[in-house]
Structure formats: structure tokens, C-alpha cells
């Protein structure tokens, strides 16, 4: 259909191959740099030719992302990247389509499109750069900004209740959900790799620090001293534990989590809640998403990864089926069932 060249064998790529040569224009110290660096590390390892990657973004600091990647890309309009990615992926299932969005772009103006792309399980990879602020428009609160935060548009404190992106994505029935943090390079690369490999929609929330308008929002999770008590990594089939000495564990208490220093209390690791990212029902993932700092340590990693046929595959199957049942050329369809000849 298109002027593709033979995509195989793909050359071995390096992060540098993904350098677009554009000057990166984020503020010095912006958390976006780390995400860019990590994605550039992951993409070459996927065995996908460079020309098959497409990065689609909306508007926001984060959404400048495509310019800095030497792939195909589109910097579109505010909040609409998922719609463009959906159309692209449905028309070109052979491509690896990534969406880069922010907490404003993706959850404020673009919440509906994100939800519908997720619901349909379109095979696109969505990276939500969550800095809990509108960076590009210079510091208004966003749907993930903590209540009471003073910002340009809330000088006496925001009265909006923030949304929980993971719970929200679960409400939209995401098949792959993960969270990672801009200052966790290895973790992020692993999560991005898994997101890329998932067949279906991948929703990845990335905590990202805006040094200018919301500096330190994630200090609890990045600070060397604090992170052990405030963050724990989800691992499939493994017990949930954390703390500097991995001494604290998560217990299931009815439908609520309990944190106990299980070593002190004499419990065994096997008593702890174990993670099951493949659980068909999303209740476990939802339960985990409710654990938020400061009441609880926050889970990072893969909350959920289940298999369901993708929207684009289902669409292609219907196209195939339709093509297989075609018995006459288009001319005959144009001619219609009832026609007559004038001589």
C-alpha cells in the first residue's frame, strides 16, 4: 500500500541514531531530559527498524518530545494525540506508535480521547509525563496537582481534587498499566521495554519533575533518604515489600492494604500480598493504585498486563473477512441492484 522498503534485516541501532539534531529546548534540570534519554536507550533494543517508529504528542513541554527523536513524529494539538495515534495505528498496524502526553494534555483537555484509546485497546504506547502542573503555560494547576497547592491560577490554593491516573486508566479498562519515575533509569527502561512489548494499549505514568513550576513534587520518591520508605517495586509473583532493609510488607486486610514490619512481627514473606500483573480482573491493580504517599508507599512498576485482542487486529480481521466475501468488482457495486439502460 505504501512505499515501504523491505524492512529486514534491521541494522543494529544505538541511542545516537535516534538523535534528531534539534536543540533540546526544555529548561535546564527539567525531568523530561531523563525520559528522553531512557527512551532513546530502549527503542534500539526492540528490533524494530527506526523508520517504523512514530511518536505523536499533543501540546505541552512534554509534547515537544517528538522533535528530539529521529523517528517519524507529529507534534499535534492540545489533548488530541491519542486520536491521531489511533487513526495512524489502525491504518498502519505495522508501525510502532507512541504517544507522549502530559498531565494537562492527557488528563485535562485530552482525558476523553485517552480513555477511549485505552478502552478500545488500540496497540499504542502512551507515556504520560506527570509533573502535576501545566509547564508550558507557565504554572497553572493540572488535574493531578495536589489539592491546596498555590499556583498561578490558584493563588490561595487549588480546590480541585486530583485524579489518580492509574485508577483512572483502570476505570477505562487498560490492559497494560505501569508507573515509573524520571530518576529511576533502569526501572524506567524496563517499564518502557515492557510497554513496547505489550500487544495492546500500554499506559505508563512517569513522575517527572518540573524544576520551574513544581520543583520537588516527587522528592519523597527520588530523595535518597526518603525513597525506600515511600516507594516499592511491583514484581510479578513476588511479595510486596519495601523499606531500606526490605523489612516492611503489604498485607491484604479485607479489601484494604496494611503495612507491617513483617520481619519484626515475625511474618514470613509468603504471608505478604503477592503481585499478579496478569490477574484478569482489575481489582488488585485498583487496590494497588489506591496506595498513595504519604499514607502508603507507592507501588511502581507494572500494575497490570493482560492479553485481549487489540482494536486494530479486530478491525483488520473484519476487513479481511469483508474482502474475502467480496464477489464482484466495485463497478458492479456502483452499478447497484436496480439499474436500467437507456439506448
Amino acid at each position: 500500500m505504501t512505499e515501504r522498503e523491505n524492512p529486514l534485516p534491521s541494522p543494529v541501532l544505538s541511542p545516537k541514531d535516534f538523535d534528531s539534531g534539534f536543540d533540546v529546548r526544555w529548561c535546564p534540570g527539567c525531568g523530561d531530559y531523563a525520559i528522553l534519554a531512557n527512551l532513546k536507550r530502549v527503542l534500539p533494543t526492540l528490533g524494530i527498524p527506526k523508520e517504523d517508529f512514530v511518536v505523536i504528542s499533543g501540546i505541552g513541554c512534554s509534547s515537544r518530545f517528538p522533535y528530539y527523536m529521529d523517528t517519524y513524529g507529529m507534534h499535534t494539538i492540545h489533548g488530541r494525540a491519542p486520536t491521531i495515534a489511533t487513526g495512524l495505528k489502525c491504518s498502519r498496524p505495522d508501525l510502532s506508535v507512541w504517544v507522549v502526553t502530559g498531565d494537562g494534555d492527557g488528563l485535562s483537555i485530552g482525558g476523553n480521547h485517552l480513555m477511549h484509546a485505552i478502552r478500545r485497546n488500540v496497540d499504542i504506547k502512551i507515556l504520560l509525563f506527570n509533573n502535576q502542573i501545566y509547564g508550558l503555560t507557565k504554572g497553572q494547576y493540572s488535574p493531578t496537582t495536589k489539592q491546596s497547592k498555590r499556583t498561578k491560577s490558584s493563588p490561595t490554593g487549588s480546590i480541585d481534587y486530583p485524579v489518580n491516573p492509574i485508577s483512572w486508566a483502570l476505570g477505562a479498562e487498560a490492559t497494560f498499566i505501569a508507573r515509573t519515575i524520571f530518576q529511576y533509569p533502569d526501572h524506567m527502561q524496563e517499564v518502557l521495554r515492557r510497554a513496547a512489548e505489550h500487544k495492546g494499549v500500554s499506559f505508563v505514568e512517569i513522575y517527572q519533575n518540573c524544576v520551574i513550576f513544581n520543583d520537588g513534587a516527587f522528592r519523597y520518591a527520588t530523595d535518597k533518604e526518603m525513597r525506600y520508605d515511600n516507594v516499592f517495586e511491583l514484581e510479578h509473583g513476588k511479595p510486596m515489600k519495601f523499606g531500606r532493609d526490605q523489612e516492611k510488607g503489604i498485607f491484604l486486610h479485607g479489601l484494604t492494604p496494611k503495612v507491617i514490619n513483617f520481619k519484626q512481627a515475625g511474618f514470613d514473606e509468603s504471608d505478604l500480598l503477592h503481585h499478579d500483573e496478569n490477574a484478569q480482573e482489575s481489582t488488585l491493580a485498583f487496590f494497588l493504585s489506591r496506595m498513595r504517599y504519604p499514607e502508603f508507599p507507592e507501588p511502581i512498576g507494572i500494575f497490570r498486563a493482560i492479553q485481549k485482542p487489540t482494536y486494530n487486529d479486530l478491525l483488520d480481521a473484519q476487513m479481511e473477512e469483508a474482502k474475502n466475501t467480496v464477489t464482484k468488482p466495485l463497478q458492479e457495486i456502483v452499478n447497484g441492484d436496480e439499474n436500467w439502460t437507456v439506448t
Binding site: H75, T76, I77, R80
Partner: protein, 633 residues
């Protein structure tokens, strides 16, 4: 089948009634929306077309899904104009009206010619039904119908008699066949054969033989009733029209658009990606296209119009032919994304099926009031070509043209249809697809590589179009977006002079499409008193009015704009050749505004904003008035 043969025989044995030949006839079948008037109308149309008449139709149904039975809001009508000469509109006034209930009578009677034939289902004129329709006294009794030739028929009763003996028919089903009785009756009146309808019934209900029997039987019963009953004393015939030889079918604007788009996709050898959100009166395009999946048409029902246009921008970037269809409110929502398509210079087609506005307005009614919106309804200087088909058949042609232009010039193209054009059913001379020239893609050229070895996506060809390079093409990776871009490289640029150049390049590219547009042709004298300048679907009424007056000896020419942006190059010259320009349109003067702005002339505006197409007569009257004015000079 023997029944049919019998019938055919009967037809050939001359009956006692007299036969009168007419040049053309306008009838309307009207009833409750549950009464099946649309179907009866379609079948009458088929039969007329098979007889060789030129035909134009106008279906008119209520806005509600199921308005309460018997109310004025629930009336559904189907108008058919059939003729032995070429016709261009469904007709103004009715020669015959069939009214299946009092509400149908009340809503439609004002359109019946005086001395016109009025066939009424007398059984439905119960006190309750009369009061639902707002009649305190039956119009059959109060003399208000005395201008018409009224024929009350006990359609309900006669239909019941015809059908009730058939085995396997429930009492509920019995009443559902009344429309076929009426169709039979009117078919006799205008000497239309029943065979095509019977064939259709047999096919449609092939697994429900009782229904086939019932419908066929009452159809014939209606026919025989007309033939044998004394009170209809004349049968009318309308001879064949002289039409260009060829294969014909009848087609609605929606169907023709869908087929045109599918054809364009084959001509370009690219998949068509149709992303849309349902909206009246554009949804039919989705319904038509989804059934063409076997021909490489992918459809996507989006969550809203913004997602719809977003999806086709994505699909276009991927190399498919992105198309969406919507109506006014949806178009408004697409404004921002349409601007993105303009600045990224991606090809796509937006079909806007206009309906009466503002806001939700009257969703099922036609209007031409989105012209200025499609031209100017975007932030910044955001030019794009706009085409408006004049007939259902022209929808097919312009759909292909739009795709051709969109790809050749790398631009979004808007097609302006309307509720009238979309639903109107006209005979159409079917084109031979193999005769259509292929649509070529603007592939990257060597010259599109910058000095740094990187691809420069905003290099332009002789048409100012940029190359169409899709993801997956090795070595030509590039990024596009909504920020102003640097000439040639397409990099983000805030340079003032670059911006001005880009604004002008986009404008020049669209103006340059002028060379693809046929010279505007005028019908009638090439100079004279008055030129009637219509656009899009008002073609039929405007042309008919002009032609009528030309026959009466007036110095009237007419021409219809199918290309609203850019305008045909010779339009200015044409406009200067007449003393007066009359611009009839279904809005408050939008083309008129454009013409005055572009040519600094004074033109006359004829507007109608009633959610209804023009009547020929309305235009005739105004032309005559204007000419009267000129002659007084």
C-alpha cells in the same frame, strides 16, 4: 408470478377509462412515520425510472425517531417528480397528494395545486385522529378542500379485506401493508407497472412467504381498485424522457459520495480511512461506507468529531486517504484540528452535510449556511479548497476530484453537501470506472534532501505541494506539527519573515488549485440582463427557473458554482457581462458576501432560510422582479 402476468394482460386490454398524457407530474405520499411512506415512494420512483422517466425525489421525515402516532410532528412524506423532459428538482407544487391520515393532510395540503388530486384514507379520519391533527371539524366536511379533486378511499378497510385471509398474517401485520395498497392505487393512476416492486418484495421477504403474499396482494388490490372503481375516471401517463444513452440507476447524495470515495481509493491505490462520529444528516455516509469494507474502506466510529478528524489526520500521515463526514455542530468541533491539517499540509477530505442552524437548529433540514464557516472558521490564516456538488450524481464526481486535489496538493479539502442533496434521489448515468484516470502520489524527490543529509519535508513541487512521505520509509524520518515551520526544512520557526512567507505559500498553493478547476460555463446568453449565480444543491431550482424564463423570452443566464474556493478563474469576467447578478442561496447571503468581497460588485441576494430547498417559482418571481426593475431604468 402468474398474478403479475395476469396483471400485465389486464393492462393491455384497454379499460373503459380515458388516458391522458402529461409532460411531468409531481406527487407526494404522506402518512404517519410508521406508515411506510418512504418505502412506497422509493418503489414508485423505481417503477418510474424503469419506465424511462427522468425523476427527482425528496424524502421528508420527522426529526423524532418515533414521534407520537398521528401527530403533526410524526408526518413523513416522500415527493416524486417524474417527467418526460429533463428535470432538476423534486418539483414545487403537487399534482397529487396521498394523505394516509388527517395529520398528513394538514401538513401537506398547502403544497397541493388547486384542482390537484387528493387521495385520502378515509378510514383514518376518526374523531380522535382529527383532533390529534388539530382539526375540530373534519376537513372532508367543512368545504375547505373544495379547490381539490378529493377522493376519499377506505384504504384501511380495503387493505384488510385484501390481506386478512392470508395464512400466517397477524392483525398487527395487516395494517403494515396499507402503504402497498396506496402504492398500487397511485401506480394505476399514473400507469406504473408493478413488476419491479413485486420482485423487490419477493427478494426482501424471501424467508417470510406470508408477508410476500400480503404485500403483493394488497399492492395489486390497490391497482385493481383504481382500475375498476368508477370515481377515478382518468389514467395519466408520462412518456419516456430523452436521456443520454447509458446504464442508469437512481442514487442519493450519500450513496454517491460513498461510492465516489471508494472509487477514489481504488484510483489512488490507497486504503480509504473513514473516521466519523454519527450526526444527522451525515451518518448515512458512515452506514454506506462500512458496507464497502471489502473494497478497502476502513471505517472507524470515533468518540466525537474531534477524535474523528484526529483519526483521519493520523491515517493520512500513515498514507491512507483520510475522510470524515459530519454536519454543522460537528464541523464546529473539527475547526481546530482542520487547522492542524492545513499547517501540516496533509491530504484529507471533510464532507460537511449542511443542516439548518445555528447550534442544534433543525437537524434533519437542509440549509447552505456553513459556507463561511468552512472558509473562515479556523484561527489564523488557514486556507483550504471547498467544493460543493450540485446533484447526487455530482457527489460521485466531486468526491473523486476532492481526493485527487487533496493528494496532489497535499491539502485538506472540504466538500459541502446538505441534507437535501444527501437524501434526494436522482437517476444517475453510471460511469465506467475503468475510464477514470488514476490518482498519483507525490512521492519524495531527490531534491527533498537537505544539505545535512536530512529529509526536508517542506520542499515544494511546481504546485507548491510538499512530498507525501509516510512512516516506514527508510531514511526519510521527519517530524511535522502545528507550530509554524521553516520553509523547506519544516523545522519549528519563529522567524517573522519566514512566517509571512509560509502564510503566503499556503495561500498561493490553494489559489493555485484554480488551474484544476474547469472554466465556469454559463447556460443561456453570454451577456444580458441577469445572471443567476447559484452554488451546490440549489442548482436544480435555479437552473429550472432560468430555463423557464428563457423560454418565456427573458434575458436570463444561469451558472452554478461547484468550486467555492478557489473560485473559477473566469468568474470575474462572467459577472461583468450581466446587468444584474442574482445569488439565490439557502442561507442569509453567504456566497453573496463572498462575491461582493472578491469582486467589489453589487449583487442581488435571494435568501431562503426555512430548512427547505427553493421552489422554482420563488426564483422565477424574483428574477422577473429584478428584470422589471432593470427595464424601468
Amino acid at each position: 408470478m402468474e398474478e403479475v402476468q395476469k396483471l400485465e394482460k389486464r393492462k393491455k386490454t384497454p379499460n373503459k377509462k380515458s388516458i391522458e398524457e402529461l409532460e411531468r407530474v409531481v406527487i407526494r405520499l404522506a402518512g404517519d412515520s410508521g406508515d411506510g411512506m418512504q418505502l412506497a415512494g422509493l418503489k414508485f420512483t423505481s417503477a418510474s425510472v424503469m419506465l424511462g422517466n427522468d425523476v427527482s425525489t425528496f424524502p421528508d421525515y420527522p426529526a423524532e425517531i418515533r414521534a407520537p402516532q398521528g401527530t403533526l410532528a410524526g408526518v413523513s412524506g416522500f415527493q416524486i417528480h417524474f417527467s418526460s423532459t429533463e428535470i432538476y428538482t423534486p418539483g414545487d407544487k403537487l399534482d397529487t397528494l396521498v394523505a394516509m391520515n388527517p395529520a398528513a393532510l394538514r401538513v401537506n395540503i398547502e403544497d397541493l395545486k388547486s384542482t390537484g388530486i387528493l387521495i385520502i384514507n378515509q378510514d383514518s379520519f376518526t374523531p380522535r385522529a382529527l383532533s390529534k391533527a388539530g382539526y375540530s371539524i373534519s376537513p372532508l366536511d367543512d368545504g375547505t378542500l373544495s379547490n381539490f379533486r378529493v377522493f376519499p378511499v377506505n384504504i384501511t378497510k380495503l387493505n384488510k379485506e385484501a390481506v386478512s385471509s392470508i395464512e400466517g398474517i397477524s392483525s398487527k401485520q395487516i395494517n403494515l401493508t396499507r402503504n402497498f395498497f396506496a402504492l398500487g392505487l397511485i401506480s394505476w393512476l399514473y400507469a406504473r407497472p408493478l413488476d419491479s416492486t413485486i420482485k423487490w418484495i419477493e427478494k426482501k421477504f424471501s424467508n417470510r412467504p406470508a408477508i410476500v403474499k400480503a404485500n403483493a396482494k394488497t399492492l395489486k388490490a390497490g391497482y385493481y381498485f383504481g382500475e375498476t372503481n368508477e370515481f377515478l375516471s382518468v389514467q395519466y401517463t408520462v412518456p419516456k424522457a430523452e436521456m443520454k444513452p447509458g446504464l442508469y440507476r437512481y442514487i442519493s447524495g450519500s450513496q454517491a459520495l460513498a461510492l465516489g470515495l471508494a472509487t477514489a481509493s481504488q484510483l489512488a491505490n490507497r486504503e480509504l480511512f473513514f473516521g466519523a462520529y454519527p450526526i444527522t444528516p451525515a451518518s448515512d455516509l458512515l452506514h454506506e461506507l462500512v458496507r464497502l469494507r471489502g473494497y478497502g474502506v476502513k471505517t472507524f466510529q470515533a468518540e466525537d468529531e474531534i477524535a474523528a478528524i484526529g483519526s483521519i489526520i493520523g491515517a493520512s500521515f500513515g498514507g491512507s486517504i483520510g475522510v470524515t463526514g459530519t454536519s454543522g455542530p460537528g464541523l464546529a468541533l473539527m475547526s481546530e484540528a482542520l487547522g492542524l491539517a492545513v499547517i501540516t499540509e496533509l491530504p484529507l477530505i471533510l464532507v460537511n452535510v449542511q443542516r439548518a442552524g445555528p447550534s442544534t437548529g433543525m437537524p434533519t433540514k437542509p440549509e447552505q449556511s456553513d459556507l463561511l464557516q468552512v472558509l473562515f472558521g479556523r484561527n489564523g490564516e488557514s486556507p483550504l479548497p471547498v467544493f460543493a456538488p450540485q446533484t447526487p450524481g455530482d457527489c460521485f464526481k466531486l468526491a473523486i476530484k476532492a481526493v485527487r486535489i487533496a493528494i496532489k496538493y497535499m491539502t485538506p479539502v472540504v466538500l459541502l453537501s446538505d441534507a437535501y442533496l444527501a437524501n434526494n434521489i436522482d437517476p444517475w448515468k453510471i460511469p465506467n470506472l475503468s475510464k477514470l484516470s488514476p490518482i498519483e502520489i507525490n512521492n519524495p524527490r531527490k531534491s527533498s534532501m537537505g544539505s545535512d543529509g536530512r529529509f526536508t519535508p517542506y520542499t515544494r513541487d511546481e504546485n507548491l505541494a510538499r512530498p507525501y512521505v509516510v512512516p516506514g520509509t527508510k531514511g526519510l524520518e521527519h517530524r511535522i506539527g502545528g507550530l509554524e515551520k521553516e520553509i523547506i526544512t519544516g523545522n519549528v520557526s519563529y522567524d517573522p519573515v519566514n512566517h509571512e512567507k509560509m502564510v503566503n505559500l499556503r495561500e498561493q498553493k490553494v489559489s493555485g488549485i484554480g488551474k484544476e478547476i474547469p472554466s465556469q460555463v454559463v447556460e443561456g446568453p453570454s451577456k444580458g440582463d441577469i445572471l443567476v449565480l447559484s452554488w451546490g444543491s440549489t442548482y436544480g431550482a435555479a437552473h429550472t427557473a432560468s430555463e423557464n424564463l428563457r423560454k418565456e423570452g427573458f434575458s436570463v443566464a444561469d451558472t452554478n458554482l461547484r468550486f467555492l474556493n478557489p473560485l473559477p478563474a473566469n468568474l470575474g469576467k462572467i459577472l461583468s457581462s450581466y446587468k444584474q447578478i442574482l445569488i439565490p442561496e439557502l442561507n442569509n447571503g453567504q456566497l453573496h458576501f463572498i462575491i461582493q468581497a472578491r469582486f467589489s460588485i453589487i449583487a442581488e441576494s435571494l435568501t431562503k432560510v426555512q430548512g427547505k430547498p427553493f421552489h422554482v417559482e420563488e426564483i422565477e418571481t424574483v428574477i422577473k422582479n429584478i428584470i422589471g426593475g432593470i427595464e424601468h431604468d
